[in-house]
């Protein structure tokens, strides 16, 4: 979104906040100002009710049973799969694999897809602003299979040039692993362009969409990415469920990730044969209740309107950023033209941890530290930053509270 977003006049944030019971609580005797949404989002009553109702009257284990409840539960679980397919505009529901989170989704790709294709010296291209979940699985391949990590830099504004990604690709590249939206800088990458350039050289793309999927419309077919990971708990859903989207041609050729029940066709003493995707990649009892919760969360988000919500969030973040910049001795990290509602900043002379503590006592929840992005911290030569991240239920009053609390910290520390 390049244009200055207008404050949507029909966006009734007070009504939306009533959907989230936790937002009315206090911390340390102050109103909760929850600005740690990039870490995890709060859950609307609709999600709580959906999970509760499911467990109250429709719950059983899925896929294996003949009895009524098993059939109902299976329907709900598979409906959730289709719901996610719709959310991502994937071509087939079989391209949606439920995992326990975004991290597991990426690890699945590393283990089941890439590990069998890496010879020592083969290369994985990734950006310096990746989250550890999109770094460490590739380090595993370096440690275990001799892969080489090729790092693409970001500019001082935190922008990632698709041409730089393309330049990093050589005859030895096997995968490009790239974030859709940085959890630190807020930078939204030109994922479609990166994918186009990578595909022109015959290289598949693994996209970390844990932040990107939360803000705006995602169309995996339009993006043409090979793999896209997202996590439920950042999407207003429960913890314990994530999604790997993978093109079915890849899934067909991928070995299993975990072994166990559900993902097999036949097991004998001598041998085992495996089910087709997606079942092949869902060993054991899946996160049934959580998938139902996730489907309800996606319904909720779409009822608000993904683009409307994103516009609101970005307008809030822009206001916060502008007001923080107006204060003395504040450094903002990441000012890309296309930026999501995530503001990392430093109050110069105040350690992020101390800043976050003082903000906490004012009821303002932000995160302070390296945000699971140590290579990025090193690139910007900081030990850590404070990070305020906005969701569909945050308000301009909360921006005021954030700014006031930062002022308070400055009074304490000088």
């Amino acid at each position: 979104m390049n244009a200055e977003p207008k404050k949507a006049t029909s966006y009734d944030v007070s009504a939306l906040r009533r959907d989230f019971p936790i937002l009315s609580r206090e911390v340390h005797g102050k109103k909760l100002v929850y600005l740690d949404n990039a870490a995890s989002a709060q859950k609307p009553k609709r999600v709580l009710d959906a999970m509760s109702a499911f467990m109250t009257s429709e719950y059983a284990n899925v896929h294996r049973g003949v009895h009524y409840l098993s059939g109902v539960a299976t329907e709900r679980y598979e409906e959730a799969r289709v719901r996610v397919q719709r959310f991502l505009n994937a071509g087939y529901s079989g391209e949606i694999i439920f995992t326990k989170g975004g991290t597991e989704a990426i690890n699945l790709v590393a283990e089941s897809y890439l590990a069998t294709r890496i010879e020592p010296g083969d290369e994985i291209v990734l950006s310096v602003m990746e989250h550890h979940s999109n770094i460490v699985p590739w380090h595993f391949l370096r440690e275990r299979h001799g892969a080489v990590l090729k790092w693409v830099e970001v500019s001082d504004l935190g922008e990632l040039d698709p041409a730089d990604v393309a330049r990093a690709i050589t005859g030895k590249t096997k995968l490009v692993a790239i974030s859709h939206m940085s959890n630190v800088l807020g930078t939204k990458t030109a994922l479609d362009e990166i994918t186009r350039l990578a595909h022109a050289k015959g290289i598949p793309v693994m996209a970390d969409g844990c932040q990107g999927a939360v803000h705006g419309i995602i169309d995996v077919q339009a993006l043409d990415v090979d793999f896209y990971a997202l996590t439920g708990h950042k999407l207003y859903g429960p913890t314990g469920v994530g999604v790997l989207y993978a093109k079915r041609a890849h899934l067909k050729a991928m070995r299993p990730y975990q072994g166990g029940g559900e993902m097999i066709r036949e097991v004998t003493r001598a041998n085992v044969t495996y089910a087709d995707a997606p079942m092949r990649f869902e060993a054991g009892t899946p996160p049934i209740v959580q998938a139902v919760g996730l489907a309800a969360a996606l319904d909720y988000l779409d009822s608000v309107g993904r683009e409307v919500a994103a516009a609101h969030e970005i307008a809030l973040a822009r206001t916060a950023q502008k007001r923080l910049k107006e204060m003395n001795r504040i450094r903002i990290f990441g000012e890309s033209r296309d930026k999501g509602p995530i503001i990392s900043f430093e109050a110069i002379g105040i350690h992020a941890h101390d800043l976050a503590t003082i903000l906490d006592r004012e009821g303002v929840a932000v995160r302070g530290g390296h945000h699971c992005a140590q290579p990025l911290m090193e690139r910007f030569q900081v030990a850590g930053t404070a990070r305020a991240s906005f969701a569909l239920y945050n308000t301009y009053e909360e921006v005021d509270a954030l700014v006031a609390a930062v002022g308070e910290a400055r009074r304490v520390f000088g």
Partner: protein, 151 residues
């Protein structure tokens, strides 16, 4: 600002964090260890010069971190000057009690008074590891280990 916060970031702690005592590498150190709090990036390196009578002839530290971790390290180096190794280990036990808000032995009344400023940490359980980092590094150094971590 609430009372707890006032206690945590009182003048003495801010002063120690801005002007840490015994800051800098110790050339003649014979016990060195690093401490790292990966959760927030606090890093400390503690240098000790222990003489043949098991006395801490000199102690210093280097590092980068939050105000609590730096102030705690600074206060520690002030207190440990000239103490025996045994005393240092006892005092560590007492310090851990102090920052957790527990009753427990280890600090005599004079030490307790000087470290009392850190008692405010007990109201901030998420920050205890910042306060104890330097002490864990000191212990690791005395034990002949290279590194300590608090998570």
């Amino acid at each position: 600002m609430d009372q707890n916060l006032r206690e945590l970031y009182q003048e003495i702690i801010l002063d120690h964090s801005r002007h840490p005592r015994h800051f800098g590498a110790l050339a003649e150190a014979n016990h060195v260890a690093e401490g790292h709090n990966p959760l927030c990036g606090d890093k400390v390196k503690v240098y000790l010069k222990v003489d043949e009578n098991d006395r801490i002839a000199d102690v210093a530290f280097e590092g980068k971190g939050c105000a609590i971790s730096v102030a705690s390290a600074s206060l520690m180096t002030e207190l440990l000057q000239g103490r025996s190794v045994g005393e240092a280990e006892r005092m560590m036990g007492g310090f851990l009690h102090l920052v957790k808000g527990e009753d427990g032995p280890g600090l005599d009344s004079e030490d307790k008074e000087r470290l009392e400023v850190m008692a405010g940490v007990s109201a901030f359980p998420m920050r205890v590891k910042c306060a104890t980092l330097a002490w864990h590094a000191m212990k690791a150094a005395l034990d002949g280990e290279n590194a300590a971590r608090t998570e």
